[in-house]
């Protein structure tokens, strides 16, 4: 019997799609391309009919969980409900059919969406300037750090080689700093899980380009010393960058610009409910101060009279994407913000309420490395003798997607739980019930989990050892 790949389900000569018949004289590749540049062997691609393709991918999807099927409290990923209205907006042929290079006068509706979204993000963050171009959060980080790099280049300030990064940071932060040519230097935490201000004072100097802070940080703890931190950095001429992955704890409650942040990125797919798609597309818009605004990527959208147009910021770092960014997620985020208006604050409030509720209910059974209240997510540790991995797999058998585990790195056996505001108390109660039950399970039983998922635990080492990454 053949395997389960789509290629195994085909047979030579089958076709899943019919194209229009030629209405002009056929011209073959052989007639127009030199022979040595012509393909000699057919690619071994599936040859399958539409019914088979539809059934194959439908059944694949049934081996996958999403927010639509299950509670999905993946910490730092903000797996909130994706409103179907957003999808209706993005499906509109008046947007979906637009070519990115159509002249500005043909795409005024799209430009207006971008212009207004820039304004919404400016308002939410408190910054005067936005760029929607970065294609994902990590690219938003890179864009921000490159802007800082270019700022110093432009200022002739050549000694800025260090970017400070708290131990709690997402891995993308140090990777970004390195990619932008900086030395990523780690900075420790205080007892509350916040950036150690004392250490910052010692480390920050004229070689410092920026500190990359996440707030609330990945322990779910609010960095209360933001203003002080910003002050220290500014005093040595450095910038404070904020990783906006956790903006779902801030909207309407804290504006990064007010706290002294100089530049930040948003994850439209996290905070503003655009679908995560199994790992993208995301969208990593950035917002920044006047000082950094001239360095934004090319282009941004400006208003001129009644119309909108693209413009290149004066000292732009250049493009980070071939076109204008991931417009699909922008349109969805615009729609989401339009459906909330100032009530976005309640999104924040309920996200934080949900996390604190889970925290309160787990307290006493799970260990809480940091004092409360937490923000939109909470980091917990299983009781001694039980591994986070086993609890995670055990949750699958209870019908829950596991939280993020073994992150943040500073907490041993960390389980980072982000319920988001779109989950009900009953769901949280069921989840807590499962967590409490698992805390009392025998480790050797837990080791067997999951038993009710599409697969049992996988041999991950084997995949790396004998790499097979294609048919």
């Amino acid at each position: 019997m053949l395997g389960n790949l789509i290629r195994d389900k085909g047979r030579p000569g089958r076709r899943g799609y019919t194209l229009p018949r030629p209405d002009v004289e056929p011209v073959s590749p052989e007639e127009v391309v030199p022979e040595r540049l012509l393909r000699r062997e057919r690619p071994r691609l599936p040859e399958a009919d539409e019914p088979t393709v539809v059934r194959h991918y439908t059944n694949l999807s049934r081996r996958n969980w999403g927010i639509d099927t299950s509670f999905y409290p993946l910490g730092s990923c903000t797996m909130k409900h994706n409103p179907r209205a957003n999808e209706a907006a993005a499906a509109h042929p008046g947007f979906a059919g637009l070519h990115p290079l159509q002249p500005e006068e043909q795409v005024q509706g799209a430009l207006q969406v971008m212009y207004e979204l820039q304004g919404f993000l400016a308002e939410i963050s408190g910054f005067p300037a936005v760029s929607l171009q970065p294609l994902a959060g990590a690219q938003g980080e890179l864009t921000s750090i490159l802007m800082i790099r270019d700022y110093f280049r432009d200022a002739g300030d050549t000694g800025r080689r260090v970017v400070l990064i708290p131990q709690t940071a997402h891995g993308t932060n140090p990777a970004t700093a390195a990619m932008a040519g900086f030395e990523a230097r780690e900075i420790g935490l205080d007892a509350r899980g916040c950036v150690d201000v004392g250490e910052l004072r010692r480390l920050a100097d004229e070689s410092t380009a920026a500190l990359m802070i996440t707030n609330p940080n990945t322990c779910g703890v609010f960095e209360r010393n933001m203003e002080e931190i910003a002050g220290i950095l500014h005093s040595v001429g450095a910038f404070l960058y904020m990783d906006g992955a956790n903006m779902n704890a801030n909207m309407g409650r804290m504006r990064p610009a007010d706290a002294g942040v100089d530049i930040m990125h948003f994850n439209l797919h996290k905070t503003f409910s655009t679908p995560h798609g199994g790992g993208g597309p995301g969208s990593g818009a950035i917002a920044c101060s006047e000082r950094l605004a001239p360095f934004r990527p090319d282009p941004v959208v400006e208003r001129r009279g009644e119309g909108y147009r693209f413009a290149r910021p004066e000292k732009s770092i250049g493009r980070v994407a071939a076109f204008h960014g991931n417009f699909g997620p922008m349109l969805r985020a615009w729609n989401y913000i339009r459906m909330h208006g100032p009530e976005l604050r309640e999104v924040t409030d309920l996200a934080v309420l949900n996390a604190n509720y889970v925290r309160a209910r787990l307290k006493g059974t799970y260990r809480l490395p940091y004092e409360g209240p937490c923000k939109h997510e909470v980091v917990v540790q299983p009781p001694k003798g039980i591994r986070a991995l086993d609890v995670a797999k055990g949750l699958i058998d209870h019908g829950f997607h596991p939280p993020t585990i073994y992150f943040p790195l500073v907490v041993k056996e960390a389980m980072l739980i982000e319920p988001t505001e779109t989950e009900s108390k009953e769901t949280l109660d069921d989840f807590v019930g499962a967590m409490l039950e698992l805390a009392e399970a025998k480790p050797e039983e837990l080791e067997e989990a999951p038993t009710r998922a599409p697969t049992r635990r996988l041999d991950e080492a084997r995949a790396a050892r004998n790499l097979k990454a294609r048919w």
Binding site: L101, F327, V352, R456
Partner: protein, 429 residues
């Protein structure tokens, strides 16, 4: 009350009690500086009102017309089944498959995507996608630097899409220009310290370039060759892996992905097996579960930022999984013959149009160079021509700014549309 939240007053009360605080405000007492105002956003709309607004804005766009723009994004036929499948909640509302036991759908789809890209490019291994072609080019350039242990410096010509080049430069890659004549690149002068040579084929002007020559030129200076290829073109062109390229990258938008004003698209990257550890991004690999059943899992994770942090080979995390899935489904529906047919239809129509334009007295910029479905045609007043075309309900080609229009012709264009194009341009020209 906020939308999409289930909380009743009673729920909130019970939850606050369990937490042991009196109000939600108390949960923000540690926030400083706290924002106490109201966000200056337009008032909340209901779904219907918001969608009516979308409708109104959409009406300010000129969509649904025949499009002769290409330059990296192509107006191709998209099978209805693609959108129907990728909108299934299990695909659309999940995230990166960190928990493989409940993510086999996406993991297998990534494995299939990698396989499609490997087959098309003739290279052994591909990743799960990067953001777009431009970032794929930049990541490939950085990859050549890591592999050659040189500073990132690539030789390339005007044949590379200028937008890809811009991103490359933004990513901090040094660029050495190569001569570009008659529509093709002269690879003879690659600097000895280059880490890579980049060749796009068909290039920005639609011309099929000699990827083999680029590869040879790279080899001579100890650099690696990066080929940038439209996946549809690879149905008829010799794959870069067979022509000596070490890395192939490109844009999967032509594979069934809507134009959507420039994104989401998905870049692909493929390379030789021995370079896999320098490949950025996710890779799904085959393995077995405890009961010996075949399954898929993210593998070689030690390359990635969440494991290796500052020493990762890229900062990429979220990629373009759903778009890559769309491209995979498209390819599965079309198959090798269907892809070839898309290419042949496009070639036929483009050459018909080029011929008719020639008859109308317009001159191709590179009349001797081999092209598939995109070409530059000289025109005294491109702007005027495009305005006349729009008046006739046609979105014209790209104004190259120097008296030429870059025209892309896909299988979607009908003879009627091509004839109308010629008629308008001949009269406007």
């Amino acid at each position: 009350m906020a939308r999409f939240t289930p909380h009743t007053e009673a729920d909130i009360r019970e939850m606050l009690d369990a937490i042991g605080v009196g109000s939600v405000d108390e949960l923000f007492e540690d926030v400083s500086p706290r924002f106490e105002g109201e966000l200056g956003l337009p008032p909340a709309l209901s779904e219907y009102e918001a969608l009516r607004e979308v409708e109104r804005l959409a009406a300010r766009n000129r969509a649904g017309l025949p499009v002769f723009l290409g330059a990296g994004a192509y107006d191709r036929i998209t099978p209805a089944a693609v959108g129907a499948i990728i909108s299934r909640g299990e695909f659309m509302t999940s995230y990166t498959p960190y928990q493989p036991e409940v993510s086999q759908g996406h993991l297998q789809a990534i494995f299939e995507f990698q396989s499609v890209i490997s087959e098309l490019t003739g290279l052994e291994v591909a990743n799960a996608s990067v953001y777009d072609a431009a970032s794929a080019v930049a990541e490939a350039a950085l990859m050549t630097a890591r592999l050659t242990k040189r500073d990132p410096k690539v030789a390339l010509s005007a044949g590379l899409n200028p937008r890809y080049r811009e991103v490359l430069e933004t990513y901090g890659v040094e660029v050495a220009g190569l001569p570009f004549e008659g529509g093709a690149t002269d690879f003879s002068g690659v600097p000895r310290d280059a880490s890579g040579v980049i060749v796009q084929s068909p290039n920005f002007f639609g011309v099929v370039e000699d990827v083999g020559a680029a590869a040879e030129a790279a080899r001579e200076v100890g650099a690696l060759a990066v080929a940038v290829c439209d996946p549809i073109a690879l149905a008829v062109l010799e794959p870069p892996g067979r022509l000596g390229a070490d890395i192939a990258v490109g844009e999967t938008q032509p594979l069934g992905v809507p134009l959507m004003f420039g994104g989401p698209y998905a870049g692909y990257m493929a390379t030789r097996q021995r370079f896999v550890r320098q490949l950025p991004g996710r890779i799904a690999g085959e393995t077995v579960d405890r009961e010996g059943r075949l399954a898929y899992v993210l593998t070689l994770r030690a390359r990635e930022q969440d494991i290796r942090r500052a020493r990762a080979n890229s900062n990429i995390c979220t990629n373009q999984a759903l778009t890559a899935l769309a491209a995979t489904i498209y390819t599965a529906l079309l198959g090798p013959e269907g892809l070839r047919e898309v290419a042949e239809l496009s070639i036929s129509k483009a050459h018909y149009l080029a011929g008719r334009l020639g008859e109308a007295g317009l001159r191709l910029r590179y009349p001797e160079a081999p092209f598939l479905w995109e070409f530059a045609v000289e025109m005294p007043d491109v702007k005027g021509a495009n305005e006349a075309l729009l008046e006739a309900g046609i979105v014209g080609g790209l104004d190259l700014g120097d008296g030429a229009m870059l025209v892309a012709v896909t299988e979607k264009r009908t003879k009627e549309e091509l004839d109308a194009f010629v008629e308008v341009v001949a009269n406007a020209g």
